[in-house]
């Protein structure tokens, strides 16, 4: 009895010493449910980067090297779970940062708790515009003065611009908008409408239809688009319902391109849509093709570490991976595990970070509530159009491949 007590006391002491030498990062996201392919890929990509950093001794802070310790939380894609998790994380004293989350609604529900405590938070891969625009100056209320929230994903503004651009490039004039009824779907629809206006009103929106999470029969929405002569469907939703739309299009003989947000690259869209998904177009920040040695080694180590032949959501995995590298670089620059100092370092990152999406040079700058771009890492040039082809996402335009290879230098 005495021995056990002594042993457990020693254990506690040991872990405490250990905790002092580690850098604690939380990874949150939906690791189950309809958004899980994105959540788990992001987590696994991030953990791959962490494993590599730890294998090399850790993040150098001063003279010591610190191992990264991960706290994982599954928000199930549910807003209320996300809020609870954010509250829990905000109350942890030794937390250096939070990375993750897929669903825009979850971000909106939780981030205010992290912002209150000034905890450095990198949103990836949630793309809904509202996650960042909630902090900017509005007519009735000023934005956040000092923001600890960063985004590492091609936000819907960029994506909607690309989708509209693509539809115009393909000489379409009549399109139908389909979206789900979540925060993500509705804000995606608004971004699309906004972009159509911005790009000169060259597209006529003949139908705007919505669907709910869990809907399987999209006949009515699709027939409405078909009856009004839509030449393309622009869509904002997540995997399972997107697949139902693709399958419904085949059934109803609606042979027009499906163009939409990056979620069209989710494995649960590609698998459930099967051959009906071929030719679907979406913006991507990462294509699972070994275009450079660095990308090749990332893809291979992912496949090996998780026993897969295809990353469930390549974009999420690559963003999770690069986000950790950038975070680690900020820790090294700050020479501290203090989350506030890491935030300052992130806003002025000196050394370029060699990621698998690009070589990141100063991805963020000092927060300006009048300019949301200061905390957005992605610009138009980091994104390409991807296309579903026999169960995989490939470059829709081969010129993009060369462009990406160049940006990795």
């Amino acid at each position: 009895m005495k021995n056990t007590l002594l042993a457990s006391l020693l254990c506690i002491a040991a872990t405490q010493v250990y905790a002092g030498d580690t850098l604690k990062i939380a990874i949150t996201g939906p690791f189950s449910g309809g958004s899980a392919p994105m959540g788990t890929s992001m987590r696994d990509g991030a953990k791959l980067a962490i494993a590599e950093i730890n294998a090399a001794g850790g993040v150098s802070v001063g003279k010591t090297k610190m191992k990264i310790e991960v706290v994982e939380r599954d928000d199930e894609g549910k807003n209320d779970r996300g809020a609870l998790i954010a509250q829990e994380l905000a109350s942890m004293d030794d937390l250096s940062g939070v990375i993750g989350t897929v669903n825009t609604g979850v971000v909106l529900a939780g981030d205010k708790h992290l912002q209150e405590k000034g905890i450095t938070r990198i949103i990836t891969p949630a793309a809904g515009s509202a996650s960042m625009t909630q902090w900017v100056n509005k007519a009735d209320k000023p934005g956040a003065k000092d923001l600890s929230i960063f985004r590492f994903a091609a936000h819907d503004g960029i994506q909607a611009a690309m989708v509209v651009e693509d539809a115009i490039k393909r000489k379409f004039t009549k399109v139908a908008l389909l979206h789900d009824s979540t925060n993500y779907g509705v804000s995606g629809r608004d971004d699309l409408l906004d972009q159509i206006k911005k790009q000169g009103d060259k597209l006529e929106v003949v139908a705007t239809e919505k669907f709910n999470i869990g809907d399987k029969d999209m006949t009515a929405q699709l027939l409405s688009a078909k009856a009004k002569g839509a030449q393309a469907i622009l869509i904002w939703g997540i995997g399972p319902e997107l697949a139902a739309v693709a399958n419904g299009m085949a059934k109803n003989g609606l042979k027009v391109p499906l163009i939409g947000g990056w979620t069209l690259s989710m494995s649960n869209f590609i698998d459930n849509a099967g051959s009906n998904g071929n030719g679907t177009l979406m913006p991507q920040t990462f294509i699972e093709e070994p275009i450079t040695p660095r990308v090749k080694s990332f893809i291979e180590s992912y496949h090996k570490a998780y026993g897969v032949t295809r990353i469930p959501s390549p974009v999420s995995a690559a963003q999770g991976y690069d986000a950790v590298l950038i975070f680690a670089a900020a820790v090294t620059q700050a020479q501290s595990t203090d989350t506030h100092k890491i935030k300052d370092a992130l806003e002025d990152l000196k050394a370029p970070v060699k990621g698998v999406i690009a070589t990141w040079k100063q991805p963020f700058s000092k927060w300006d509530p009048a300019n949301v771009q200061t905390h957005e890492a992605f610009r138009r040039e980091q994104a390409v159009m991807g296309m579903v082809s026999d169960g995989r996402v490939v470059f829709a335009d081969s010129a993009d491949r060369a462009r990406l290879v160049k940006s990795m230098k």
Partner: protein, 290 residues
Amino acid sequence: MSVIVQLVVSGALMGMVYALIAYGFQLTYSTSKSINFGQGELVMLSAFVSLSLINTGLPYWLVVPGGLLFGVLLGLFVERAAVRLALEQKGEGWILLTVIFGLLGFSAAENIWGRDDRPFPTPVPSDPMHFFGIGITPLEISVAIGVLAVMGMVELFKRKTLLGKAFEAVSADRDAAGLMGVSATRIIMLSYGLSGLVAAMAGILVAPITTVGPTMASALILKAFSVAVVAGLDSGFGVVVVGLFLGALESLASFYIGSGWREAPGLILLIMALALRPNGVFGKASIRKV
């Protein structure tokens, strides 16, 4: 015109599934005046078990009876564990107990199979065929055939066999049937078994369309319940008519009023039915002598 036909056909096919699940409610209600509020979980669990059977490499024609057998056993288990005691005490405890059983089944599915939606492989192709401009998939036809086949068989059993006659007798008057030597307890057991069978069939039929996940039946079950109530809880084939109607109505509403209004007509229908014909459109008005 073809748009309307397409909408009606697609909606009505989903309506068939509502009807089949609603039929499961009817079976137990007719004999015992009780309903399994965990019926949706029965549908979902049977689909998951069938999926696991497929993954073991069993051929499809063996998976279906396997899944159905599981449904029957689960139905019997619900009756024994959640309903029988409550009925013996002439109480309403079965309401809470079946709800709890459903929650238990849901958590079990989450823990055993996870929360993800998974595709359900089927030998029936889902490539659409076109008749007069109407797109319909063999998968949808198989759903319609399966629904009618299983309901037809149960009805045939009820009308043509001795045990089936006993079933009808208990439905008509439990006490009188008891005096004639028919064991009501046995018949109620049978009705729960059949109800489980019907739920399992619904799960297997609908899984290739909805994919299999713990929440796959949650949307279906509410509509099935509406169908059962609107048709009348002792209406037999009445559920098919109401199911087809509700499915088609949803589809039409979603097209003509807007996709946000899909559920509204069904709910209005439910309220109207409850107000105007409390026993259901096809229900028999019961006479109670005090």
